[in-house]
Symmetry: C2
Subunit: 302 residues, 2 copies
């Protein structure tokens, strides 16, 4: 069997499996209360269940399992990081931010519910991530718990995702060069993708040299992911994406594609994926899933 | 010297001191970065520095010091809980929520900056709280760190503050009875006030029986605080408050004052304060500050 086929079967199975597991995780964590908070939890469920590639959870679980962590524990942390990702999408879609109407092929949360509920559901998903990780039932070892919280908190805040989102807003009115766009994307999406790998490594008690390699893998993967995103935004299919495309160009925002052109952008994304995979050279078969994920981020059609 | 005078001097000194310390804490944590995130951090500083009673930090530090925790450590956790409080005010003031123009005597954040920046600054202050607590430099013991994170995460999320805020939004369109309003307020403001005391007790390694008493103190204090807030909203001075008042009545929202009438509300707030203080009976002079805080929450004019 040629290696590409092995990869894609391995990946497809894992994407399907993690999607179910994350849906189950949110379902279990979000029972609808018998009081006026019902609407809030319904909104959280609407945003969190049944959509998205679950790339961050997959990266976290793949890294943790590669180091021998049991899947049940890894999945709890995976739901936490996905909760941060979902909250960020809910807030990014708000009218005062990107003002998006569609997400994952359905109405955005503020359209399906209302803006106030979307702000609060985002805030509650944000808090939920930390509630999960701080719960002794999630992870018994308090040191591991505190480390996971540190990594996720840093990746989510002003020195990570939220800081990148601010730069992204400013990108509409200023002309960013390639260095600034790279920095923006490292914060906006790279920080959380890197946190997924880092959290898996923490759970798996990965040795320091392995951590360094995994960090390098995650950095290259994050950048490749964003270049691929820009390419999909430039030439992708709105139906497959489940959201509006080509908004960056309309807003005059600098992206990898606008700065490099589609050809060079594609070449660079591919080079980054090869580089990401090269960082896993010390590992055998147990890293095949991480390799397959790296290929997937540039080959996906949504 | 009569005890009331002792109390008020003790309290005034402590309110002044904690206000300075929290401002310093935020100032140190929020240096303005040399990139496009500058606007985000400026917005966070605008919201976090130089305003508010700092009641949650004071409760936390008073409880921690009462149990022998050093003030520097307690202050770090105090900045974290205030960061949650400030983020909640920023989001509550948004046009899609309470649509407020003034806060702490100055323009609300979305008016001074813009809505997108206010959403992101709130999100970043939310994450900052967890970043602070998860940092090993804040608290060395990982078990204490994880416990603080657990308590704060729960108090902030759907089973605490954010859940209460959702109920508060629904209160505008439904007619809540006294039990529901009590539950709403226990979540919306009570949860975080209780978390402040609980976090102080965790830092101070307070024994279980002491924790139970402190929890009871915090519960009564939280309710007294909210009744006093409703009374201030009903008959207070907008200038002293630094924000618009009487919005609840205009929105037809049920409050303690609308349900009980101002006289009964006042009597009940006073009774709750006495009850809160009674829970501290096992403690001597070292609990004087907590007693003074309890009196303050119903005697304040803003």
């Amino acid at each position: 069997m040629p290696p590409v086929l092995v990869d894609s079967t391995l990946l497809a199975d894992n994407l399907e499996r993690i999607a179910e597991e994350i849906d189950e995780g949110f379902d279990r964590l979000l029972p609808i209360p018998q009081d006026a908070r019902a609407r809030l939890v319904e909104a959280m469920r609407y945003a969190a269940i049944g959509g998205g590639k679950r790339l961050r959870p997959l990266l976290l679980v793949a890294t943790a399992e590669m180091h021998g962590t049991n899947r049940v524990t890894a999945l709890r942390a995976a739901v936490a990081i996905e909760s941060i990702h979902v909250y960020s999408l809910v807030h990014d879609d708000l009218p005062c931010m990107d003002d998006d109407e569609m997400r994952h092929g359905k109405q955005t949360l503020h359209r399906a519910f209302d803006e106030a509920t979307a702000v609060l559901a985002g805030d509650s998903l944000h808090a939920l991530a930390f509630e999960i990780l701080a719960n002794p039932e999630t992870i018994g070892d308090p040191f591991v718990r505190a480390e996971l919280l540190r990594v996720l908190g840093t990746a989510a805040g002003m020195n990570g995702m939220a800081g990148g989102q601010m730069m992204d807003i400013i990108a509409e009115s200023e002309t960013f060069d390639l260095g600034t766009v790279t920095r923006l994307q490292q914060l906006k999406t790279g920080a959380l993708l890197a946190a997924a790998v880092e959290m898996g490594a923490i759970l798996g008690h990965a040795p320091p040299e392995s951590r360094t390699q995994l960090r390098a893998y995650a950095r290259d993967l994050g950048l490749a992911f964003q270049i691929a995103d820009d390419l999909l935004d430039h030439e992708g299919d709105e139906e497959a994406a489940g959201k509006a495309l080509r908004k960056d160009a309309a807003a005059g925002k600098a992206t990898f594609v606008s700065l490099l052109g589609p050809e060079r952008a594609r070449t660079q994304a591919q080079a980054l994926v090869e580089q990401a995979i090269a960082h896993l050279a010390a590992h055998g078969q147990e890293a095949d899933l991480l390799r397959a994920i790296a290929r997937y981020v540039v080959e996906r059609n949504h």
